[in-house]
Each structure stands twice: as C-alpha cells, then as structure tokens.
C-alpha cells in the first residue's frame, strides 16, 4: 500500500508486519519514533502476540533480546549512536551465540562532542561485531530491508543490523509502498529457532570455550557470513517475486558500464550522488555510482565485478577512522587490490554536515582529472581548524577545542556589519 509516511513509522509498521514476538526498547534520538510507533501498535493490540519491554538501558535492551531470542521468540530492537556503543558487549554476544535478532540502527554521530545528527560512525564501529549490516538508501529500501533481514537472520542464524540514516531517513516523509501483511506472511515463515531453551530438551547455551575450539567457533561465524553472501541475492530475488520490487541485495550499481570515475558510498547520500552523476554526464563527465547495501558480509566479488572497468574510484564515507582515514575505502581497496585502480577517500557529512550536490560534482570532477588527494574532507572549514591550532600554540590552557571552534563558527555566521540591535 503506497502512503506518504515518515521513515520511522514506515519501518515500525513493517517490523510489525514481520510479527515480532518480543520488542525491547530504550529511547535514543533519532530512533525514538520507531519504538514509539511500535509501542502504540502493541498497546492498541494492532500488533498481537507481542511483548513490549521498556528496559533500563540499551545494554539491557540487547540482553533482553538475547534472552527472548534464545527462548524462541522473534525479537526486535532499535538504537543509535551512544546507545549502540552502550550495548556493544551484548551486540557481540548476540552474534557469538548465533541469535537471529533484527535491530534498526538510526545512524548518528558519536560524541564527544555530543551530536545527534547523522553519520555512520555508530554502525561502522560494529563492523567486526559479527552482525550482518545492511544500509538503506531511502525509506522504501529501509522498509524492504527489514522484511528481508528477518528472513536472512533466521535462515543463517545470525543477527542483522539494518542501518538507516538518522533524521535524513528516519524523519523524512516520502512515498513508501508498505508491504501487505499477506505478502510478508507469504515471504517470512514463522521463526524456527536452531537452539531453544526448552525443559523438554535441555541444552546449555553460552558455555566457556577455551583455546581448543575457539578459533573453530569464530571460523564458523565467518563461514556463515560468507554463506550469507549467497543467501542475500536469493532472498532479494524472492522478495522481488513477492512484492514486485527489484532489489540487488549486495550492491547497487548506477551508470557504471561506461564510467571513468566511480563513487562508492553507503546510505542516503546515494540519492544526491546519482543526481550529481546525472548532471555531470550532461557536461561530458562519465561518472557512475556503486551503492553498498551489504557492508557485512562485504561482497568483495560483487564490488570487483561492478568496478572492474572504471578508471578511478572515489570512496565517499560518512565516518572517519581517526588515524588512517576511511573504513569503507579499506574494504574497497581489498576488493580492488589486484586491479591497481587509483582509489581515494573522501570524508563527508560527519555529524549531519549537509553533503551538497555542487560539492559532490566538484569532488567527481577533481577525481576525473586525477587531482584528488588520497584522503580529503569535503567542505572542510580549514579556517576554523587553523584558528584553533593557533590558539593551542599561543596558550597552554587554550580550553576545550570543540567549544572554541563552535564559538568561532557562530561568530563567522554573523555578518560583519550586522551588530544586532
């Protein structure tokens, strides 16, 4: 059913259509509208057969999800940013135990400085947690990924994180085709746990494993993600058959066939990138885009196939691996190691900084001309940085950097003649 609907509500209603049996919720912006909507659906009994737990922290949310999943219930939670970091110990535990929990991450920056706006620092910090990670390009994609996530999680017995850009997607109202209950029921069979806490067949879950088998247990976790590389396209094809919406599953190429330059990215920035590519092609710059949907498992072969013929690669990242630069770009370089294709990293959109189409076009033109630095920061205000560096040179007690730079930025924003009366 097509509706003008907020992303969070679309996701909540889609999750409800997946018939979760236990929802564990702790509020954090910008995830709140999702769990609010789900609580309304449960309390009004529109979503029956579901327990909604208002827990005391994100750590408790993931822990309760672990218990519920191990006891045989289809389980859901959602978080973002600091909340994801607060639950990290349990995030690793859920994947280590092979529990098919689905979690939405409404991607948001990590402090300090505290910042509620979008980037990918939160989910990227969990790239090695053993969870499958899928990134949504728009709200329709987010909706579709949640339905596929349950199917995938339960098929391979691994938890799945569906990442959608905070505010940019969670709070955006756009037209979304919500899957019908009958479509979801036909696509998603009832949860059949691989392991369950059951007095009729008692098992011990979570025993201590020493050096004699730990490597093998971890190896198997990797193998299951490798297996998911094959499962994801199949599930996407079945989803397309069920709903009529074509999804590639692993990666989404755009105008790459004859591209000289390819930009690789995750999430909602793909829309702006495609607009930039369309505009540049009119001006004779042959550019293309590769969207990564499945970041974990990372589809090395699909990336290689999609980027095989391009001359230059720009990896646009909404996260910064302090001390080296990119996260996604390291993975792209691994995929392209044998090709020698020049690859550069651009950090953009941190903490909700708008990523402007004009800036992207300039970035692509620079790459096309071979003028990109290995690592650059889109629209970096170097003046702000230099003033702070000057302060730290001038005085030992230069004060908190973030506050200093914010003060400068606010002062810059006021027109010089504009002393306010």
């Amino acid at each position: 059913m097509r509706e003008q609907i907020e992303g969070s509500q679309a996701v909540a209603r889609t999750v409800a259509a997946c018939r979760p049996q236990v929802v564990c919720a702790y509020p954090i912006s910008p995830q709140t509208h999702i769990v609010e909507t789900l609580s309304r659906l449960v309390m009004s009994q529109q979503l029956g057969g579901c327990e909604y737990l208002n827990v005391d922290s994100e750590f408790a949310a993931m822990s309760a999800a672990i218990g519920a999943s191990a006891a045989g219930a289809r389980t859901y939670t959602a978080t973002a940013s600091q909340g994801l970091l607060y639950m990290v110990e349990a995030v690793y535990n859920a994947s280590g135990l092979g529990l098919p929990i689905v979690m939405t991450v409404a991607n948001r920056a990590i402090g300090a400085p505290i910042n509620i706006w979008n980037d990918h620092s939160d989910a990227m910090s969990q790239r090695d947690s053993g969870w499958i990670q899928m990134y949504a390009e728009d709200n329709q994609h987010a909706v579709d990924l949640h339905v596929m996530a349950y199917r995938l999680a339960e098929e391979v017995s691994l938890p799945v994180m569906v990442c959608m850009d905070g505010f940019i997607l969670t709070h955006a109202v756009e037209e979304v085709d919500l899957p019908e209950q009958t479509q979801v029921d036909a696509f998603l069979p009832p949860f059949e746990p691989r392991q369950i806490l059951d007095p009729d067949d008692p098992v011990s879950i979570g025993a201590m494993v020493g050096p004699e088998a730990f490597l093998e247990v971890r190896y198997l976790a990797h193998q299951r993600q490798m297996q998911a590389l094959e499962t994801i396209p199949r599930i996407a094809a079945e989803f397309a058959a069920a709903t009529g919406r074509q999804r590639d599953g692993l990666v989404t190429p755009y105008r790459l066939e004859d591209a000289d330059v390819a930009v690789v990215a995750l999430g909602s920035v793909l829309g702006t990138l495609k607009d930039a590519v369309d505009a540049l092609r009119v001006r004779g710059v042959n550019a293309g885009v590769l969207g990564i949907t499945s970041f974990r498992p990372f589809p090395l072969a699909a990336v290689r196939a999609a980027l095989g013929s391009v001359g230059r690669i720009v990896v646009l990242e909404k996260t910064l691996a302090v001390g080296i630069g990119g996260v996604l770009s390291s993975n792209i370089r691994t995929a392209m190691a044998d090709t020698g294709t020049p690859t550069t990293t651009v950090i953009a959109g941190l903490g909700g900084r708008p990523i402007l189409q004009a800036s992207l076009e300039q970035m692509i033109v620079d790459a096309h001309r071979g003028r990109s630095a290995d690592l650059s920061f889109l629209d970096l205000n170097t003046g702000l940085v230099e003033r702070e560096l000057a302060r730290t040179r001038a005085s030992r007690r230069s004060g908190p950097a973030a506050e200093n730079m914010l003060r400068d930025a606010m002062a810059d924003a006021v027109p010089e003649s504009g002393a306010r009366g």
Binding site: V22, E51, S63, S69, A71, E89, L97, S204
Partner: protein, 331 residues
C-alpha cells in the same frame, strides 16, 4: 533428565532424617530430586556457592515440576559448571554476560509468556559482583517492571572468580586483593557497600528473602515460597568462599552459621517491601567468633589486636539485630 546418584552406604545419594515426617524432608533428601547441577563440576572444595546453587535449583525444580530455565551471569558458578564441552546443568541453562543476567532472564520470561509457555519458570543467578555492581542496572529494571523472574544472588562478598577483588558487597575490614591488609586502615573501608536485599525491597517487589548455606532447609523453603509467587522475586544467599575468605573448606557451613548467629547477616523474608518474618538467632555469638576463623580478617588479631575495628563490626551486628528484631529466641 533426572540423574540418579547413589551413596554406597544407603543406595541413594540422598540421606533423610528418618525421624522426620516425609513432608518435612528436604528436597535434597529425595532420591528422585532433580540434580539440576550435577556432580563433576569444578568448584573448589567447600564451595558455598556450589552448595547453595544445588539446593536452590533443585528446590526450584521441584516447585516448578521440572519446567524451568536458568540464566547465569559470568562468574565462578558459570565457569566451574560449564567448562566446554562439559556441562553440569541438567536443565535448560544460558550464560550471556557478566552484567546482564536479569535482563536476559526478562527476555526469556517475555518470550515464554508470548509463546504460551509461561508454565516454564525463569531463575536468574549471579554472584555478588554480577548482582550488586555490574548487574545492578538490569536487575533494578527487572524489579521495577515486576518481570516474572526469581533472581538469586550467591553472595561471597568479593570477586572470587577473578581472584578475590573487592566488590560492593565486601564487608568493612575484609582483606581482598584490592583492599589489602596494609597501611593505617587495612582491608575494605567502613561506610561503603550496598545492602541489596533492602534495595530490592525498596522496589516493592512481591518477595525478597535472605538465606545462608548454614540453614539449607530454610533456603529450600524460601525458594519454594518464591516459586509460588509470580512477578519479580529476589533471594540473597550468603555463600562462604574458602579461597577468598581464608576459611577451612570443612568450615563453610560453620562460617555461614556464625555470620547469622553474630547478627552480621540477618536472615529474613519480605513481602511487597515489608519484612514479614525473621529467623531468630538461636545462640548469639560475638562477631569475633566469626572473624577469627577467616584469614581475610587476620590483620585484626595481631599484636595488639584492632579492638576498635572489631568493636565497629560488632556495632554493625548489633544494629542488624535491632533493625530486624532477631534477638535470641525465647527459650
């Protein structure tokens, strides 16, 4: 699932006081008891936690008709019972993390309820670290939501699994590896520590009780009472640790008894936040009798003895006796 074990002498692993009516016999004296945690685990000799857990879980198994799931925090009990690939648990059992046993148990209870299996009961277990320190947030959350979980704390008053470090349940003056018996104020400081049973009572949950391994029938009774109630329940069991306390392995029950008879560990029950019964002290002893047999207090009995510190500990015991009205029982 019941595993029968036998004493050579009696043909059973269970010994019952034959003078007692059968209805008063302990769960452990029943040869058909569940053996929820069976022999072969790797607890130290004289481990109070292994003893307490066996009595508590077998009683819970009897009360639930064997329909039970246990969730375990990281700690000695978890480590000594499940060295991969062996397990001592005859019941469905899960270990997730150190600080989340209460939350995992809440999730299990929710799943059982929603899938129509709420005849299956949930027991969560943790040591004092997993209860009063790192696990307190999720435990408090489980309490305030009144989730249908019995949480049992096996309190041995320090982080024993990691090698005897101070916890929020370590008593004043006790020597641990992080409160060593050195300096002008040796051992754990006075004026610190948490009284978890009273914190649990402040949540006004249906049932809170304390027990020790010195009175195992009382422990069984309290588990049975707890299992007859729905909602959040808390049982705090004092379990001496020979290794950490520096007491003789054979003295585990004796040390626990002296803890109660000195008044240092009050044994009581509370319903809905109000104390409803206390176990009177049968023969009151000075705290010195309790302290002297534990090496963790050895620094109090040097030359000269730390009489001021001992008096301070005695004052704590005296206050407990006043607060819970556990004076010596009338003859």
């Amino acid at each position: 699932m019941t595993e029968r074990l036998r004493f050579y002498q009696t043909g059973s692993f269970a010994v019952r006081n034959r003078l007692l009516p059968v209805v008063d016999a302990s769960v452990q004296s029943d040869p058909g008891r569940a053996n929820a945690i069976t022999s072969g685990h790797r607890a130290c000799q004289g481990c109070g936690e292994a003893l307490g857990a066996r009595y508590a879980l077998d009683a819970a198994m009897r009360a639930s008709g064997g329909r039970m799931v246990a969730v375990n925090a990281t700690g000695c009990l978890e480590v000594f019972s499940t060295p991969y690939p062996e397990t001592s648990w005859q019941i469905p059992w899960m270990h997730s993390l150190f600080g989340n046993a209460a939350a995992v148990a809440s999730g299990v209870a929710a799943a059982l309820r929603v899938t129509g299996r709420d005849d299956v009961r949930v027991v969560a277990q943790a040591g004092d670290g997993g209860t009063v320190d790192i696990g307190l947030g999720p435990l408090s959350g489980m309490f305030e939501r009144n989730d249908d979980v019995l949480f049992i704390c096996y309190d041995n008053e320090a982080y024993m699994n990691t090698g005897v470090q101070r916890s929020g349940a370590t008593p004043p003056a006790a020597r641990t590896m992080t409160t060593p018996a050195v300096g002008p104020h040796p051992g754990a400081p006075f004026g610190q520590g948490k009284d978890l049973p009273r914190i649990a009572m402040a949540h006004e949950i249906p049932y809170v009780a304390t027990a020790t391994v010195a009175d195992l029938r009382d422990l069984e009774d309290k588990v049975t009472t707890a299992m007859s109630i729905r909602g959040a329940r808390y049982l705090h069991v004092l379990v001496p640790c020979p290794l950490g306390w520096g007491s003789a392995s054979r003295d585990t029950v004796r040390v626990a008894r002296l803890a109660t008879e000195s008044g240092l560990f009050p044994v009581f029950e509370a319903h809905d936040g109000e104390v409803t019964s206390v176990t009177p002290i049968r023969r009151r002893v000075p705290v010195e009798d309790y302290l002297r047999i534990q090496k963790r207090y050895a620094h109090l009995f040097g030359e000269p003895p730390a009489t001021g510190v001992i008096a301070h500990i005695q004052a704590t015991a005296d206050r407990n006796i006043r607060r819970y009205r556990i004076e010596e029982a009338p003859v």
